[in-house]
């Protein structure tokens, strides 16, 4: 009996560990090129233990951005350092980091905490040491906020956003979510639509089904997801509110109802329907359900996505014999081909700045994620993983999350827009696929 209890505990431990670390990111390439930064563990000014270390979240965020490489905590000349006033600049004079993030957390009432943080331009501070100094010269930012116990991770991401934007000039995308599909073929109801914070924490199930779920796509306000469900033994497009759980069936025509993509104003969906024969791209008004056909060709036309101005769609078409990416202007219906390099190019989407397109490229039979500069038409293959598909661009345009295969299992991976930083998101149970990165939240 005692033994049984032990085995049960052991069993439970095994069951819970992978669930917690379900999407913990493993960086596979590109740390060496990152910019060194010092993140000092935030100083806790309470008598009970600190609920959570906010600076751990900031360190992970900055590491996962691929842009920064936080220093090892043991290499910091000063710890227990919460503000610039306590900073011993002499001790920091030889530290090879461009900036320092530090802060304090103290209890502020029932389930309330006062968080202070400061961002220091260390290079500037080092240049001034010895001479007359004005702290405002190298204090890049400082903020004071009251948060609840449940907001530690969220506020950590907020700090990361501020640090990232101050140091790079690009808005941080740490306070974002990802939606994806998990398939456990051994389960009775194998298909699950999930959302999690961009870093895999706070994983939540939105829908579970015995039949396939596909192609999740975010509404521009980050509140709704459109997806394909086969729950009625046929493909149908649904829109689901992630807060109220309210589901609306948008299309259920005979044949394919697939590849939904929200228009930038959030009022329409570009979708693929095959009700009139071959798969064609349509635009459906979500409120009225009115549909308008966009493409008209005997070959396959599918997986449309919008240009940021909402005036055109890019889509995959076989009209040239093999899948390639085309653009159609909605007002005129004029179609132009965008990709020519490689055997296949498909599943394209345009970056938020409208300058580049990310898609799946097949060269020598290998499927990888590629990026093309829309002006120069220069194409770069970003990944070296296997069977890559479903690329989704971060709302700040710096990173792409995509589905790939690792050790015979479908997993998610990320690659920076320049292809230098690569990371993998390992999984516990089942296959993980079809990631969709949310807009800014």
């Amino acid at each position: 009996m005692k033994n049984l209890g032990r085995w049960l505990i052991l069993g439970l431990a095994f069951l819970t560990i992978p669930a917690k670390a379900a999407l913990d990111i493993v960086i596979t390439e590109g740390v060496d090129a990152a910019r060194p930064i010092a993140v000092v563990p935030f100083v806790w000014q309470g008598s009970t233990p600190m609920p959570q270390q906010i600076s751990d979240v900031v360190m992970s965020d900055l590491t996962r951005s691929g842009t920064f490489k936080p220093m090892d905590e043991l290499g910091l000349p000063q710890r227990n350092l919460g503000s610039l006033a306590q900073m011993d600049l002499k001790a920091w004079s030889n530290v090879a980091a461009e900036a320092v993030v530090m802060g304090t957390v103290k209890p502020y009432g029932p389930d309330q905490y006062l968080v202070n943080f400061e961002l220091i331009d260390l290079v500037k501070a080092q240049m001034q040491s010895g001479g007359p100094q004005s702290a405002s010269d190298y204090l890049l930012d400082s903020r004071e906020t009251v948060i609840s116990g449940a907001q530690f991770r969220q506020y950590g991401h907020r700090i990361s956003d501020i640090v990232y934007e101050k140091l790079t000039g690009i808005r941080g995308a740490f306070l974002t979510r990802i939606a994806y599909v998990v398939v456990d073929h051994k389960a009775k109801s194998p298909y699950k639509l999930m959302i999690a914070d961009y870093d895999g924490y706070n994983e939540q199930m939105l829908l579970r089904s015995p039949e396939p779920l596909m192609s999740p796509a975010w509404s521009p306000d980050g509140r709704c997801l459109a997806y394909v469900s086969f729950e009625n033994k046929k493909a149908e497009v649904f829109v689901q509110d992630i807060y109220t759980q309210q589901r609306t069936k948008v299309t259920s025509f005979p044949g394919i109802n697939g590849a939904p993509s929200f228009s930038p104003d959030g009022k329409k969906l570009a979708i693929t329907l095959s009700k009139d024969g071959q798969p064609e791209v349509y635009v459906v008004d979500i409120a009225t359900k009115a549909i308008k056909r966009v493409t008209n060709h005997y070959a396959i036309d599918t997986e449309a996505s919008w240009t940021p101005d909402g005036k055109a769609l890019i889509f995959t078409s076989e009209r040239g014999g093999r899948p390639q990416i085309y653009q159609v202007t909605l007002a005129s219906g004029k179609v132009t081909r965008l990709t020519f390099e490689g055997e296949w190019n498909l599943g394209g989407s345009i970056s938020p700045d409208g300058r580049s397109m990310v898609f799946v490229n097949r060269t020598n039979g290998k499927f990888n994620i590629a990026r093309m500069d829309l002006e120069t038409r220069f194409m770069q293959v970003l990944t070296t993983t296997r069977l890559d598909e479903s690329p989704s661009i971060a709302p700040n345009g710096t990173m792409v999350i995509y589905g790939t295969t690792y050790q015979g299992q479908q997993v998610l991976a990320a690659v920076s827009m320049d292809g230098r930083f690569k990371a993998r998101l390992p999984v516990g149970q089942g296959e993980v696929k079809s990631p969709a990165w949310s807009p800014f939240l």
């Binding site: 396939p212 192609s215 394919i256 693929t272 499927f367 069977l387 598909e389």
Partner: protein
């Protein structure tokens, strides 16, 4: 009805006869080893110690054809080449068997599922799967099967049959499945 039973019996009997014919040598070897070691199976088979023999009934060509089709209909998966949706001649006999059955039973409905391997995007593969299912439907329709007897669904790469992600595995996943 009696005729139907007879066919069923033959469907069972014929393959058994075929197997025993092919593997007679190996079986006798097994018998020899088992009798030497005095295994349980020989004791269990001891029973009354009798053996029965029989001959295959004489079949008309129509009956032979029926049995053949019945056998073929057990095969309900049609495989396709990479990025192709044309029905290979290897599968025309299987589809003929299904087509004849559907022609004889106009009240029977069949669902044709189209599937793709995991290469390419899930959305493109849905289109490819549908084209394969449609190719099968078109084949059956050309035999005279009513469109109302057939429905189509494409699962793309969402329901693989083989999870190995090797070339052999991909080949098993590029398929159309007839579901009655």
């Amino acid at each position: 009805m009696d005729l139907n039973k007879l066919f069923k019996a033959m469907v069972v009997a014929l393959p058994i006869m075929a197997i025993s014919a092919c593997s007679s040598t190996s079986e006798s070897q097994t018998d020899a080893t088992s009798s030497m070691s005095g295994s349980e199976s020989s004791e269990m088979n001891a029973g009354g110690g009798v053996e029965t023999g029989g001959v295959a009934p004489i079949l008309t060509p129509e009956e032979q054809q029926r049995i053949k089709y019945q056998e073929l209909r057990k095969e309900h998966i049609i495989y396709f080449d990479f990025d192709r949706s044309s029905v290979s001649s290897d599968f025309s006999e299987v589809l003929n068997a299904h087509g004849e059955y559907l022609l004889e039973h106009p009240n029977v409905r069949v669902m044709i599922e189209g599937h793709a391997d995991e290469r390419g995007t899930p959305e493109y593969n849905i289109a490819l799967g549908e084209r394969r299912a449609k190719a099968v439907a078109k084949y059956l329709q050309s035999m005279g099967v009513l469109p109302s007897q057939m429905s189509i669904v494409s699962y793309g790469e969402e329901k693989p049959q083989d999870f190995s992600r090797t070339d052999d595995g991909f080949a098993k996943n590029r398929r159309a499945v007839l579901v009655y």
